[in-house]
Symmetry: C2
Subunit: 120 residues, 2 copies
């Protein structure tokens, strides 16, 4: 079964995860029973290794990492491929891929553009 690993930066502030928790809930609302876990690069738990282990335990045979980053910086270009490799080493047989970051999705940029013109 294919699983989603929703990857964000992380922060020292515990309130920082709120939008990512909401995002995961929205994914699960759209696809009930989906295997989807959030994970964070810095400061915030769970780490990628912990979230990937959780998905593997729940029966994932394939993990797609979704970079919740707008800009394609060092985190996306260096950290994510390295983390994908670490998941493969820890879980041989598990297929791991890294999607394009959300900032490359026209639908996401369209929604942000609309928000910019009518912000809260």
């Amino acid at each position: 079964m294919k699983a989603l690993l929703l990857l964000a930066h992380g922060s020292r502030d515990p309130a920082w995860t709120a939008p990512f928790d909401r995002l995961r809930a929205k994914v699960l609302a759209r696809q009930p029973g989906a295997l989807a876990e959030s994970a964070y690069l810095e400061h915030t738990d769970p780490t990628v290794a912990v979230a990937a282990a959780r998905l593997a335990e729940r029966g994932a045979t394939e993990i797609e990492m979704i970079p919740l980053f707008l800009g394609p910086g060092g985190h996306v270009r260096s950290d994510l491929p390295r983390l994908a490799e670490e998941i493969r080493s820890a879980h041989p047989g598990l297929q791991v891929s890294v999607a394009a970051p959300i900032g490359e999705a026209d639908t996401v940029l369209d929604a942000i553009a609309e928000y910019c013109l009518r912000p809260a």
Copy 2:
């Protein structure tokens, strides 16, 4: 005239701005003639001060800063109010406000959730 200051983190990588350039183009396509500038907190030009001065020169009487951040961390909670205050000091009479970050917008999270389920 109201102007938009689209604020993102910035990166040492020059290619990093591509999604933010596309976002600004999308805003201008939706509202031709709009006053909208991108600005960055770190590494990437222009700074907030430079972008705000550019908007003021072009006739802005009001600037709304749009935080292009998903999580409400230190950048959103500390840096942005401070930068808003710096714009006010540099341009007395210019109204400056800070919108909620994009991670608080349901429409943005909905678009990201859809992308997570059908990533590129």
